[in-house]
Amino acid sequence: MTDTVRVIVNGEPQAVPRGSTLLGVLRTLALDPRTVVVEHNRHIVRRPALDAVSVAPGDAIELVHFVGGG
């Protein structure tokens, strides 16, 4: 049993420390939680709850924000 689990972040496999919360994942990726919206297994998780939700192996995480668009 390794110390990391593999999750899918924005379509790419990522290894994150076992027991990480979503907030931990953001930190691992050096992302500021105030600038990102997090979808976890197709459910949106609001900022206050990011540290309350742990990730499990194979979880699909989408991290999105606003970009230029018409």
Binding site: A30, I44, H65, V67, G69
Partner: protein, 266 residues
């Protein structure tokens, strides 16, 4: 030069219960240079600017590729779109993510039906519009110029109907003024023409049909000078609106002299 304009003539432009000063909305895509974009937006005088919801680019982690570093949400009203979505479910997912960004519960709803033309899928659009209205969204629905679809969208409770002038990014201008005029005559919700405007006269003639507002992106971003075109579009939208309110002269197939016929010399 400053161009003052007498105030008080026009009713406020209201969408989804909010009033905006400018009837021009602009998109934020396709600019080569973000600094130019900001100046073009400012030149346009727009209050509402559209943004897209996309994944954070993890390869450039740290260097934020988002647009919020460029746009002050206090200055601009950020309107998230669902561009790139081909089903009602997909568009609803993007709409919810956009709302979660925390600025407002408005969404410019796009459900695309054809990749080549980016024309809307009206069945998917109606389905998503109904569901999102139920969820409390103010839905601004990008649609074609079909009156019956527009009436159904109004029945669904959308905040605005956004018919296209011509395909997104085409710059072909207002292909069918008759249809747009008809929509405006029949709908009670605001009509905001979205997509296809290429230059100032397109914007002006569109507003002269009586519509409530206009949204454009490529006309600015792909102009030789986006900032100057931003200025031009602000003026053109105001000109078209003002002319609509002023009531144009009747057309005549015969000439009518501007100078008096009497008082000529012998």
């Amino acid at each position: 030069m400053a161009i003052p304009l007498e105030g008080g003539r026009d009713t406020p432009f209201e969408v989804g219960g909010r009033a905006f000063r400018s009837r021009l909305m602009v998109g934020t895509g396709k600019y080569a240079d973000p600094a130019v974009m900001v100046r073009a937006l400012e030149a346009s005088g727009a209050d509402i600017v559209t943004v897209a919801v996309r994944r954070v680019n993890l390869d450039r982690a740290g260097s934020d590729d988002g647009i919020l570093g460029r746009l002050d949400p206090k200055r601009f009203f950020l309107l998230a779109n669902t561009a790139g979505c081909y089903t009602a479910a997909e568009a609803m997912r993007y709409a919810r993510l956009g709302r979660e960004a925390g600025f407002n519960d408005f969404v410019k709803l796009e459900v695309i039906g054809d990749q080549e033309t980016l024309l809307p899928d009206v069945a998917g659009l109606l389905e998503a519009a109904r569901a999102l209205v139920q969820e409390g969204f103010h839905v601004l629905a990008y649609t074609n110029d079909d009156l019956v679809t527009a009436l159904r969208l109004e029945d669904a409770g959308v905040a605005a109907v956004m018919p296209l002038a011509s395909p997104i990014g085409s710059g072909l201008g207002l292909l069918n003024p008759y249809s747009i005029r008809l929509l405006k005559q029949r709908l009670h919700v605001p009509v905001v023409v979205d997509a296809g405007v290429g230059t100032a006269s397109d914007a002006c003639v569109t507003m002269e049909q009586g519509v409530d507002g206009l949204l454009m992106n490529t006309a600015l971003a792909a102009a030789r000078d986006p900032v100057a075109m931003g200025h031009a579009m602000r003026l053109a939208v105001a000109a078209g609106r003002m002319a609509f309110l002023a009531g144009r002269m009747p057309r005549r197939e015969v000439a009518v002299p501007s100078s008096p016929l009497e008082g000529m010399l012998d």
